[in-house]
């Protein structure tokens, strides 16, 4: 079976080494890594926003040559920034990426993300968490094949973290699309099918969540370890003596 996403040697000079990545249809992939490890760079390169080499294809269609109208069906990118400058109503922000008016689809997402009460308010005046939900709805609106979500769980309260994961799971199951989600809370990776650990601009480990959480690579990368069911800073081993 051909994978949904096929990326070959995608690279971003100075931030992401040439990387190959295949993602199967219907899978949820978590992207973790220390600050500055290249999570956002990988997502941006996959979304063909910026890359210095390589290519990425969704359902065997090269992203770089897809027309704007078609691209919104292939992929959706949610940036980590929740900033909105213009006073556009939340309902209309959700519909922004759609190629035509689809009021039923927008209504469906307003319900799913419990945004009905906020629908007519200017989105730039909502709280950060509310804006995060509006922007997530915007990313889902075109029912793309591949969801690239940068820090999708940030700025959300515990209910919305769980609810977002549930919504993503339902979406991925229902439409056989795939999602790649970068996150900082490594305990959340258990909700995913597969976890990519990024370190210094390359994929350092690619493991199922349970294995990832106990892996040496994770401990090594984040400089933390698990003991008595809690994460703690890994003690530095012995004083470093110069030879």
């Amino acid at each position: 079976m051909t994978p949904l996403l096929k990326a070959r040697a995608i690279a971003l000079a100075g931030r992401l080494d040439p990387t190959d990545l295949d993602i199967a249809a219907g899978s949820m992939v978590a992207l973790i890594g220390p600050n500055g490890s290249g999570k956002t760079s990988l997502l941006r390169a996959l979304a063909a926003i910026e890359m210095s080499g390589g290519n990425a294809a969704v359902d065997d269609e090269l992203l770089s040559s897809a027309s704007p109208a078609h691209r919104s069906r292939l992929l959706s990118f949610l940036p980590a920034s929740r900033d909105l400058v213009w006073p556009i109503r939340a309902r209309e922000v959700i519909g922004l990426g759609l190629t035509g008016p689809e009021p039923e689809r927008v209504d469906e997402l307003l319900d799913k993300l419990e945004l009905r009460a906020l629908a007519e308010r200017p989105a730039n005046q909502l709280s950060t968490g509310e804006r995060a939900r509006v922007l997530l709805a915007r990313a889902l609106a075109s029912s793309p094949r591949l969801l690239l979500l940068d820090e999708a769980l940030s700025n959300l309260d515990p209910y919305w973290v769980l609810k977002t994961l549930e919504l993503l799971r339902d979406t991925v199951r229902g439409t056989r699309c795939s999602a790649i989600v970068s996150l900082h809370d490594i305990d959340r990776v258990e909700a995913f099918d597969r976890v990519l650990l990024l370190d210094d601009g390359r994929i350092a480990a690619d493991l199922p969540p349970k294995v990832m959480l106990t892996s040496e690579e994770l401990t090594e990368c984040f400089r933390i370890e698990r003991s008595e069911n809690r994460w703690r800073i890994r003690p530095v081993e012995g004083p470093r003596s110069s030879p």
Partner: protein, 322 residues
């Protein structure tokens, strides 16, 4: 959005007819003695003035809206980005140093100056900068261009350069010919028509550069297009009528009330509102008392400054609330 836009267009047409015919007295008087002269008066003197007032206003409104969308900043406009000043510098250089008389060639000089000013602004402040940086960089460029313009005028081979550039550069539609109006409005109209085709991309920029790029609208290319097209439109108009302030700032602001906040969809209503504002301003100038001619650019500045301050104060409040 269609209804308010249709109303705006109808209002604009009505105002343009009024602008063309008022004051009616002198026109009727001439007609009584010589109807051919009256027709000439209408087509050679009043028509270019009406077309320039409406066309330049539309250019200011639309390029202001496009710049605000591109810089993601409601305070960007042809004057606050220094592009009007740059255009004036280009036109002065062409007229007094290269001795250019042909209005179309002069328009090209104006466009060049405006384009350089906008590029300078992007180099200084970046394309998505905070309000303070954008305004400071814009002021710096406007000041530099203004100083250079004064210097070029002072050192110009013609000793009358300063004197006869006054009315030109202050922004005025008086005594412009039809060929001059054509030289300003044909390139500007083409540039604006192309700008409108970028409206959807500018709307998507509301979601940020990366989302626009992921949907196949690379913001850098869009930025270059907006800079080039705005420079052509503003430069051509400034080279004929001089710099006119604040219309390019206020019209987009009002237009976004019609477009539901969408920056790209505000392009057309901003053009209509800009045209209405400038036709109104020129009507007001024409009926100014004491027979003294006030350049229309001075009127828009006098009316626009308090509005600008009001906008700034409003923005500060919103930032403090965050």
């Amino acid at each position: 959005m269609t209804r308010p836009f249709v109303l705006l267009s109808a209002g604009l047409l009505l105002l343009m007819v009024l602008h063309l015919l008022l004051p009616l007295g002198p026109l009727l008087e001439v007609r009584r003695t010589d109807s051919r002269l009256a027709a000439l008066l209408l087509t050679e003197l009043r028509l270019p003035r009406t077309l320039l007032a409406a066309g330049y206003g539309a250019v200011l409104g639309m390029t202001g809206a496009a710049m605000q969308a591109m810089f993601a900043n409601p305070l960007a406009s042809p004057d606050t980005t220094g592009s009007s000043s740059g255009a004036a510098l280009g036109a002065v250089l062409g007229a007094y140093w290269f001795g250019i008389v042909d209005p179309l060639a002069l328009a090209a000089f104006g466009a060049g100056g405006a384009g350089l000013a906008l590029l300078g602004l992007i180099l200084l402040a970046g394309r998505r900068s905070d309000t303070a940086t954008l305004l400071l960089a814009g002021v710096a460029i406007a000041l530099a261009a203004g100083a250079a313009t004064s210097l070029l005028l002072a050192l110009a081979p013609s000793p009358f350069a300063f004197y006869d550039s006054f009315e030109w550069l202050m922004g005025s539609f008086v005594d412009r010919s039809l060929p001059q109006a054509a030289a300003a409005l044909i390139p500007a109209g083409l540039a604006c028509a192309l700008l409108i085709t970028r409206a959807r991309a500018l709307d998507l920029m509301a979601l940020g550069d990366d989302v626009a790029a992921s949907l196949g609208y690379p913001p850098r290319r869009l930025g270059r297009e907006v800079v080039a097209l705005s420079a052509i439109a503003v430069g051509a108009c400034v080279s004929v009528c001089g710099a006119i302030g604040f219309v390019g700032l206020i019209a987009p602001y009002a237009a976004r009330r019609i477009s539901g906040g969408h920056p790209g969809r505000a392009l057309l209503p901003a053009a209509a509102i800009g045209a209405i504002l400038l036709v109104l301003a020129d009507l007001a100038v024409r009926f100014a008392p004491a027979g003294r001619a006030i350049p229309v650019g001075i009127l828009t500045t006098v009316v626009g400054t308090p509005l600008f301050v009001w906008l700034l104060v409003g923005m500060r409040h919103r930032m403090l609330e965050r």
